[in-house]
C-alpha cells in the first residue's frame, strides 16, 4: 500500500501530519526511513516537532452551555512515541520499527483534542468517541469526514516560549514545581527549558518533573465524569524523560513544548496526595529514610492479604495494609513489586468486558511510572508514591464494580482450554499464541500462556510474541504503553509471582477493546520494511 508517488520530504511529512492525512503521513515517514535513508530517530523527532504546537488544550475540563463540565482528553501522541522507543529495543531490527510506525499512524489523529470533542476538527476522538459524523455529516454519507483530512488548520492554544534563566537551581526547581501545581504554564515551561540547558541539572530536573506528575492524581474516578486525569500527568512526565534521553536533551525542545505546559494544565488534583501525605506524616514520620529494598520482602501470605485489599477491599483497607508492611520494615520496592503482582489477579481472574480494561491499565501504567521513579531516583516522597499507585489501582477496580457485570461479555474460563494447550508441543506454541492474540481469543491465548509458563523457563520469546502481536493493532497508543510497562515490571519484579505479570499482560492484549479491527498500518509497515506476514 504505497500511497503517494514523488519524493518523500520532511516538509511533506509536516504538511500531512497537520492536515490529518494519517495514512499519507505514515507512508511518507516510512519512505523517509527506507528510501531516503533518514535516521529513524531524526524522523521521530520531526514528527514530534510537527505535532507539538497542536497538542495543548486550554483546560482538561470544558464548561458546557448548561453549566455542567465535561472532560477533555489528554494528548496521546507523545505516549505512543514513548512506547515505541521502549519497544524498539525489545523487538529489535526491522520488527522494532513497527511500534514507531504505529505511533506515526496515530499522531495526525490525535491533534487539536479540544476541537475534536466539539466536532470541529477530525481525528480519532471526533470520529470514534464523539461519533461526530452522525451529528454533523458531510455531503457524502459514505465518507466519514472526521477521519480526515482537516478542513481547518489546527489551533495553537499555547505559543512556544523562551527559557527562563537566572536564580539558583534549587530556587528554579522549587518555582517550577509550584508553577506546575498552580497552573502557571508559561512559567513552568520557561523554567523547565532553562534548567534543561545545563546537563548537570538534568537528573534533578527529571526527578522533579516526575514528582510533579505523580502527585497530580484524582482521589477517585467513581461518578466523577471528566474530573480526573487517570494518571496522565505522570504518564506524560515519564514520556518526556524517556524520549529526551533517547533523542538527546539538546534535540528535545519540541518534546518539552509538547509535554511541560500540559503538566500545568487544569484541573489540578492533589486531594489524594494530600491524604497520603497526612497519613504518612501521622503513622510513619520517618518515611523519607525508608530503604528501597529490605531483607524482609513480602511473604506469600502478605501477598495474599495485599491482593485481597487491592482487588476486593476499599481505600482504607489499601492504606492500612500497605502501612502495616512499611511499619514492619518492608522496602519501598518490595511493597511496590507486591502491588504490581497483586493487581494482576484482577486482570487475570476478574476483568471480562473489553471496555473495562481502560482504567485499570491506566492505573497499571501509572504504577509503572511510580516504580521507575522509585528505582531510578532518590526522593524522600517515594513511600507515598506506592500508596498513590495502589489507591489508583483499587479505585479503578471499585469504579468498574459500580456497574453490574454484563453476562453478554462473559468469558469462558481459561482452564477449559488448558488440556488443549498442554497437548501442543512447546516449539509450536508461540506461533499459535500469536494467532489467538490476533483473533482476540482470550481464553485460549491465556491457556497457552499458562501452559507455556508451567512447562518451560523460557520467557524472552514468550514476551516477544505477545508484544509483537499487540503491536499489530492500530489507532491506540495505550497498547504500546502497556507493553512497555508490562515488560519493565516483569523484568524488575522480585516476587515469586512475577509470572502473573505475563498472564495479566496476555489477557489484556487478548481482550482490551480495539479501536480498529483492521491492520492497515501493519500492512503498510510490512510493505516498506519488507516484513512477512500481512495481517
Amino acid at each position: 500500500m504505497v500511497l503517494i508517488q514523488g519524493p518523500a520530504t520532511v516538509g511533506r511529512l509536516y504538511e500531512e501530519i497537520q492536515s490529518v492525512r494519517y495514512k499519507e503521513a505514515t507512508d511518507t515517514f516510512c519512505r523517509l526511513v527506507t528510501e531516503e535513508d533518514r535516521p529513524l530517530k531524526s524522523m521521530i523527532r520531526e514528527a514530534i516537532a510537527a505535532a507539538a504546537p497542536y497538542v495543548q488544550v486550554p483546560s482538561h475540563l470544558m464548561r458546557l452551555p448548561t453549566g455542567e463540565m465535561r472532560g477533555v482528553n489528554y494528548d496521546h501522541t507523545i505516549l505512543g512515541w514513548r512506547g515505541a522507543i521502549s519497544l524498539m529495543r525489545e523487538l529489535g531490527d526491522n520488527r522494532g520499527v513497527l511500534p514507531s510506525v504505529q505511533a506515526m499512524w496515530y499522531v495526525p489523529q490525535g491533534l487539536n483534542v479540544w476541537e475534536q470533542v466539539i466536532c470541529e476538527f477530525p481525528g480519532h476522538y471526533a470520529r470514534d468517541g464523539e461519533q461526530c459524523n452522525r451529528k454533523f455529516p458531510g455531503p457524502d454519507e459514505h465518507v466519514n469526514r472526521f477521519d480526515g483530512p482537516a478542513w481547518n488548520p489546527p489551533k495553537i492554544y499555547f505559543e512556544d516560549h523562551a527559557p527562563i534563566l537566572g536564580g539558583s537551581v534549587d530556587e528554579r526547581l522549587d518555582r517550577m514545581s509550584w508553577a506546575i501545581a498552580e497552573g502557571e504554564k508559561a512559567e513552568a515551561y520557561g523554567l523547565f527549558l532553562g534548567l534543561a540547558q545545563d546537563p548537570a541539572n538534568r537528573k534533578r530536573l527529571k526527578d522533579a518533573i516526575l514528582f510533579s506528575g505523580i502527585i497530580d492524581l484524582q482521589d477517585t474516578i467513581i461518578n466523577r465524569g471528566g474530573y480526573q486525569n487517570i494518571g496522565h500527568k505522570a504518564l506524560r512526565a515519564r514520556a518526556l524523560v524517556d524520549i529526551a534521553d533517547y533523542l538527546g536533551w539538546d534535540q528535545s525542545h519540541e518534546l518539552m513544548y509538547t509535554v511541560v505546559p500540559d503538566l500545568a494544565c487544569s484541573p489540578h488534583l492533589h486531594g489524594l496526595w494530600t491524604e497520603i501525605a497526612n497519613i504518612c506524616r501521622m503513622e510513619i514520620p520517618d518515611h523519607a529514610s525508608f530503604p528501597k529494598r529490605s531483607s524482609k520482602p513480602l511473604t506469600e501470605r502478605e501477598l495474599d492479604i495485599l491482593t485481597e485489599a487491592l482487588v476486593w477491599g476499599g481505600p482504607a483497607e489499601v492504606n492500612s495494609t500497605i502501612m502495616a508492611f512499611f511499619k514492619r520494615g518492608a522496602g519501598i520496592l518490595d511493597i511496590g513489586d507486591g502491588v504490581m503482582v497483586a493487581f494482576q489477579k484482577y486482570l487475570i481472574d476478574v476483568l471480562e468486558h473489553p471496555n473495562a480494561f481502560l482504567h485499570p491499565t491506566h492505573a497499571l501504567d501509572t504504577m509503572n511510572v511510580i516504580m521507575t521513579w522509585c528505582r531510578d531516583f532518590d526522593n524522600p516522597h517515594q513511600v507515598k508514591g506506592i500508596f498513590m499507585g495502589a489507591r489508583f489501582m483499587n479505585d479503578t477496580v471499585r469504579s468498574n464494580a459500580m456497574v453490574p457485570r454484563d453476562p453478554n461479555s462473559r468469558l469462558e474460563p481459561r482452564a477449559k482450554y488448558r488440556g488443549w494447550a498442554d497437548g501442543i508441543a512447546i516449539d509450536r506454541m508461540l506461533p499459535i499464541l500469536k494467532q489467538h492474540l490476533l483473533a482476540q481469543d482470550a481464553p485460549r491465548a491465556c491457556a497457552l500462556v499458562d501452559s507455556y509458563l508451567d512447562r518451560t523457563t523460557e520467557r524472552h520469546n514468550l514476551l516477544d510474541t505477545i508484544t509483537y502481536a499487540a503491536c499489530h493493532w492500530q489507532n491506540d497508543p495505550h497498547v504500546m504503553r502497556n507493553c512497555s510497562s508490562s515488560l519493565e515490571e516483569y523484568r524488575a519484579n522480585r516476587t515469586s509471582r512475577k509470572d502473573d505479570i505475563i498472564r495479566g499482560y496476555a489477557k489484556h492484549q487478548a481482550r482490551y477493546i480495539k479501536r480498529a479491527l483492521t491492520h492497515d498500518c501493519f500492512n503498510l509497515y510490512a510493505d516498506h520494511f519488507k516484513v512477512e506476514g500481512h495481517a
Binding site: I222, N223, G314, V397, R398, A401, M402, V403, P404, R405, D406, P407, N408
Partner: protein, 121 residues
C-alpha cells in the same frame, strides 16, 4: 484441633443464619410486584448504589430472581430495563431469557444441601 472444631461450629451457625435469611428473601421476592422488584434493581445504578459492595451483590440477586420468579415476571423486568437504553444494558442482559436459561442450568442443588448453591458474595 479444638480451634478447627470451634471454627467449624461458628461456620455452621453462620450458614444456618444465612439459610434463614435466604428463606425470608425468597418469600419476600415471591410476594413482590414487578414494580417492587424494579425499585430494588434500580438501586444498582452507579448513581444510586451505596457502593461497590452493594453493586457486587447484583449477580447473586439475579441468580435468586431467576430461581424464584416466574418467566412472565422476569420478562416484564427485562422489558422495563431494556427500554431505558444503554446505561441499563448490562442489567437488561442479566434479566434476559438467554441469561436465565444459563443460570437455571448452572445452579446446582447438591444432594444433602438444603438450598441451591447460590453465589454468596
Amino acid at each position: 484441633m479444638n480451634t478447627l472444631d470451634e471454627i467449624w461450629r461458628v461456620r455452621n451457625a453462620s450458614a444456618t443464619t444465612l439459610g434463614l435469611i435466604e428463606d425470608q428473601m425468597e418469600r419476600a421476592v415471591r410476594a413482590s410486584s414487578v414494580d417492587d422488584l424494579v425499585a430494588l434493581i434500580e438501586g444498582f445504578s452507579p448513581a444510586r448504589s451505596s457502593g461497590t459492595e452493594w453493586t457486587r451483590t447484583f449477580e447473586p440477586l439475579v441468580e435468586r430472581l431467576w430461581t424464584w420468579c416466574d418467566d412472565a415476571t422476569m420478562a416484564a423486568l427485562a422489558d422495563v430495563f431494556r427500554a431505558r437504553g444503554m446505561p441499563w444494558m448490562s442489567v437488561a442482559n442479566a434479566l434476559s431469557a438467554p441469561n436465565g436459561t444459563t443460570i437455571r442450568a448452572d445452579i446446582r442443588h447438591p444432594a444433602g444441601a438444603r438450598l441451591p448453591a447460590f453465589t454468596l458474595i
